[in-house]
């Protein structure tokens, strides 16, 4: 099937005078509203060279018809930069969590017997179709105070001197795009999907959601960010507060060392190294706390 695709009929893209392009079969797990039932739908899209999953979805949106010709609402999905740096388009593609923009269709067809299967991430509440609510991921960044606590943004000269080694150590951690792949793959990170109760105000609902987030596992991305900021000369000035979060409820002790996170990270961030460092720092910190009492 792939060989046929590489033929010169497609290279020129001139479909009229030649055979019609082969069709790519796509199976998508859909859901109309948050908390609704999910269901499968099949689509067929004319193949083009170098297609990625985003261009499949763009064509499905434009046609808005299923394989059997039924008119349906276009499939909803998140995307923005399309070059694997904004972190928007995470989904389960052929069962694996990854970015839709860098998932090339020809490779997917090879690995999955001529069909592409798309599902929303399973660890976040579905908003619609492939769109999920990843607010919890950003809340974790607040919990570990993932920032440098500067006095203000006025001019105080340059930042601290940093050795090239320190920079090379920090840079990969700073490339985290908050895509959530590490959380999707983590056995310890489980879905939280609170449902609005009868008569509950929006503010109360929001507070309850926040509470649920704060009691649950932070996730590899946030642990790694905590290590990034603790290693920065100014960022490290609130290292103790970060250690408090890392060792509190939902902290590093939840990690079961499955190491799935590092295997699925699209940016190849050394997440397990960060977790190991955080574990050691937690031990040191616990002992220090014991003596400080």
């Amino acid at each position: 099937m792939i060989r046929a695709i590489d033929g010169d009929a497609l290279r020129t893209g001139d479909g009229r005078s030649r055979q019609a392009a082969p069709l790519v079969r796509v199976r998508i797990l859909r859901q109309d509203v948050a908390g609704g039932e999910s269901y499968w739908e099949r689509f067929e899209v004319p193949h083009e060279p170098n297609m990625n999953v985003i261009s499949l979805l763009q064509k499905i949106a434009a046609a808005a018809r299923t394989q059997d010709g039924r008119r349906v609402a276009p499939v909803a999905w998140d995307c923005s930069c399309l070059e694997e740096v904004c972190g928007s388009c995470t989904m389960l593609i052929n069962g694996r969590t990854r970015m839709a923009c860098s998932a090339l269709v020809d490779k997917l067809l090879e690995e999955n017997g001529g069909e592409v299967e798309l599902r929303p991430m399973s660890k976040f509440p579905v908003v619609r179709d492939l769109v999920v609510d990843r607010r919890r991921l950003f809340r974790s960044l607040e919990r570990v105070q993932a920032w440098v606590p500067v006095d203000d943004s006025y001019d105080h000269g340059p930042g601290p001197r940093i050795s090239p080694e320190q920079q090379q150590d920090a840079y990969p951690l700073s490339e985290c795009i908050s895509c959530g792949c590490c959380l999707e793959a983590c056995p310890q990170f489980t879905k939280i999907e609170p449902v609005l109760r009868d008569g509950e105000s929006d503010a109360d609902f929001e507070a309850r959601r926040r509470q649920a987030f704060d009691a649950a596992f932070l996730g590899a991305h946030a642990i790694s960010q905590a290590m990034l900021f603790n290693s920065h000369p100014t960022g490290g000035m609130i290292a103790d507060e970060r250690m408090e979060s890392l060792t509190g409820r939902g902290g590093i002790q939840i990690c079961g060392n499955a190491q799935n996170c590092v295997a699925v990270c699209p940016k190849r961030i050394p997440l397990t190294r960060s977790i190991a460092r955080a574990g050691r720092a937690a031990t040191v910190w616990a002992i220090k706390k014991l003596f400080d009492r």
Partner: protein, 664 residues
């Protein structure tokens, strides 16, 4: 007075810098964004951020020289005081980002390292690997998150800005926005509204820009009465990887390391490129520019690649314009050592190894120099007066614009690594102006009926779109047609007859848009209707771009019309050469008098742009010709310098730097 509140639209570098500074000033910010702000388009910037630094300073560099490079690079089309102010702030801004934890590359001694970028002789560019934009954005995102926890910022992520709300005196009092999940409308009352919504690459279909860069927020402000400045100036990068979904940048370093650009002599030769013999290949850059070869300046490379595909029909593919950028003659080991990172990007998205197969590349729309017209107050030292409520204010009082969506800093062409600076600078600099604007236009309880009516109008527009199920036009197909047309006529090479035709075609497309059918009529995460709405707002800006380009009969920066280009000197005999250079300079001066003006578009009745022109404040650095690569440049420069010297002698008697032109 009620608690001060500012609405910021867009959470890229400019919007976040502005939000951070406002929160610090104790002003509450509502921050509206189409995507979580950490996912904004600024993450795509790779190269770096320019500023004078300790090292360049000791080599003779100054803020003034950075300012000069920027206005010279921009072909003098920008008002000079704001640019001067930006260059002056450069060192402070890079220091600040350093303090915020940006992992800038370091020297052995632990100082920030710098690289050299186009348009300058100095190593002014600080960088963090190949992801400087991402790193700068994250640093600001983190500071804003910190202020959010403190309660000074409220984020409205996955919200769409629909329209500014103006009172009966025409002052902006807030905006109507829509929740992209629940599709609910909401009026935001604000002391000032700041647009930081970025570029409009999607008007060209596919570009190097992100999917959120529709330009819709700017278009909605323009349709509400804000002026649009220099719309026709769009930067096109010569080498991008064409994709079915977007065009991704391929760094110039591929040519720097010996990459050769060619097309088969036989149109759309179906053979494997490696099988095509040398004699049947056209190395058009090497043939046409034997001296510079594949390393001709960026604008020339862009024009030639575009020309060979569109006008000579020699594109490698028929339906997808592209040429070969060939590295296969270079040893693998050399490629991996020198170009590893960028070749991996090609491999990742194309699934083809560029070490063994020529890459397919094509120029791509990259940056909007034009944008909303904004004002400024000139300071005593020729810069911008800090805290003036006029700074960055659009022609609608109370409505401001910063970052890529304003027209202020890059003139006719942007220098590499200056955009990150202009975004952060305008964001920080506007904050005290916004605080002052609040005091100037104190609100004192706006009638809620003003906002109710504005919300109702948006609800009606939305309902009308949802009711169009019987329409005959598909919005996605129409968008592709618009993009194809704009890319063909309003990018690299512009011709008046094509532009005039295209204007008519865009008007027809806009009519067809009114017959667009939506395939989703629901009221939950309806991306279909949101896209259709954004598409409808692309036409007014497309018309601004086309009309501005049609009327501007000259070549300046990114705007190139072959009919009005000024070729070099043909004569060989010294006296004749000299006479020709005199005529060249006469013509240049005449052109400057006629065309060194900002294009201002106002949305007229019926949505047609009314174009007028405003003088540019060039009082600090007099305009001079850009002669790079021109035949006879030395003799033109000689004549030009003599004329300048004579002029200075005449003016020097009074001690002035020239005639000050009042800011508009």
């Amino acid at each position: 007075m009620a608690e001060p509140r500012i609405l910021v639209v867009g959470g890229g570098l400019a919007g976040l810098a502005c939000t951070m500074r406002l929160a610090e000033l104790g002003v509450h910010v509502d921050l509206v964004s189409l995507v979580p702000v950490k996912r904004s388009h600024s993450v795509c910037a790779q190269g770096g951020i320019n500023s004078v630094n300790a090292l360049t300073r000791q080599q003779g560099d100054t803020e003034w020289k950075h300012f000069d490079d920027t206005v010279y690079g921009g072909d003098f089309l920008q008002h000079q005081p704001p640019v001067k102010e930006m260059a002056d702030w450069g060192p402070r801004i890079v220091d600040l980002m350093d303090r915020l934890g940006v992992p800038f590359n370091r020297t052995t001694e632990g100082f920030r390292d710098q690289r050299r970028f186009g348009g300058t002789l100095y190593k002014r560019t600080s960088f963090a690997g190949a992801t400087t934009g991402q790193q700068l954005l994250y640093a600001l995102d983190e500071q804003v998150r910190r202020r959010e926890v403190e309660g000074l910022v409220t984020k409205w992520e996955f919200w769409d800005f629909l329209t500014p709300v103006l009172d009966e005196r025409g002052r902006c009092r807030g905006a109507v926005c829509q929740d992209l999940v629940t599709m609910q409308f909401r009026a935001f009352q604000a002391d000032a509204v700041v647009l930081a919504s970025g570029g409009n690459g999607l008007i060209y279909g596919r570009s190097t820009m992100s999917m959120v860069c529709t330009g819709s927020a700017v278009s909605r402000a323009y349709q509400a009465g804000a002026w649009y400045g220099n719309g026709e100036f769009i930067q096109v990068h010569p080498t991008a990887i064409p994709g079915a979904d977007k065009l991704r940048l391929m760094s110039e370093s591929a040519r720097g390391e010996g990459g050769r650009v060619w097309v088969p002599r036989k149109p759309q030769d179906p053979r494997d490129p490696r099988e095509i013999p040398e004699a049947e290949r056209c190395y058009f850059l090497e043939e046409r520019y034997p001296k510079y070869g594949n390393l001709v300046p960026r604008d020339i490379a862009t024009r030639e690649i575009f020309d060979i595909c569109t006008n000579e029909g020699l594109s490698v593919e028929k339906d997808r314009l592209c040429v070969y950028l060939d590295l296969t003659h270079i040893p693998r080991e050399t490629l991996d050592r020198k170009l590893g990172g960028i070749l991996e990007i090609y491999e990742k998205f194309q699934g083809v190894d560029p070490r063994s197969m020529p890459m397919k590349i094509f120029p791509a729309v990259h940056y909007s120099m034009g944008g909303l017209w904004v004002d400024y107050t000139r300071s005593g030292d020729g810069g911008m007066l800090e805290g003036s409520p006029r700074n960055q204010q659009t022609s609608i009082p109370g409505l401001y614009a910063i970052g890529e969506c304003d027209y202020q800093y890059h003139g006719a062409n942007r220098l590499g690594a200056n955009s990150l600076l202009s975004c952060i600078f305008s964001g920080l600099f506007v904050a005290p102006s916004l605080k002052a604007a609040r005091e100037e236009g104190s609100r004192g309880g706006e009638p809620t009926k003003l906002f109710d009516a504005a919300v109702r109008r948006q609800e009606e527009r939305h309902r009308e779109l949802l009711s169009r199920t019987a329409g005959t036009e598909n919005p996605y197909d129409l968008h592709q047609q618009l993009g194809g047309l704009m890319t063909r006529v309003a990018t690299v090479v512009r011709r008046n007859e094509q532009l005039a035709d295209a204007y008519g075609e865009v008007c027809q497309m806009e009519e067809r848009w009114r017959r667009c059918a939506v395939s989703d009529t629901g009221n939950w995460t309806n991306q279909n209707v949101v896209f259709t709405k954004a598409l409808g707002d692309m036409f007014p800006v497309a018309k601004v771009i086309l009309k501005g380009a049609l009327l501007r009969d000259e070549c300046r920066g990114a705007h190139f019309k072959p009919q009005f280009s000024m070729p070099g000197i043909e004569a060989v005999e010294p006296a004749a050469k000299r006479a020709e250079a005199e005529r060249w300079c006469d013509r240049f001066e005449e052109n400057t008098r006629k065309w060194l003006k900002s294009t201002i578009a106002a949305c007229g009745p019926g949505g047609e742009p009314d174009i007028s022109y405003q003088d540019v404040d060039t009082s600090l650095i007099p305009p001079r010709p850009r002669l790079y690569g021109l035949v006879g440049a030395e003799v033109i420069e000689e004549v030009w310098k003599e004329r300048q010297a004579a002029r200075s002698a005449a003016e020097g008697l009074t001690g002035g730097v020239g005639v000050a032109v009042a800011a508009p």
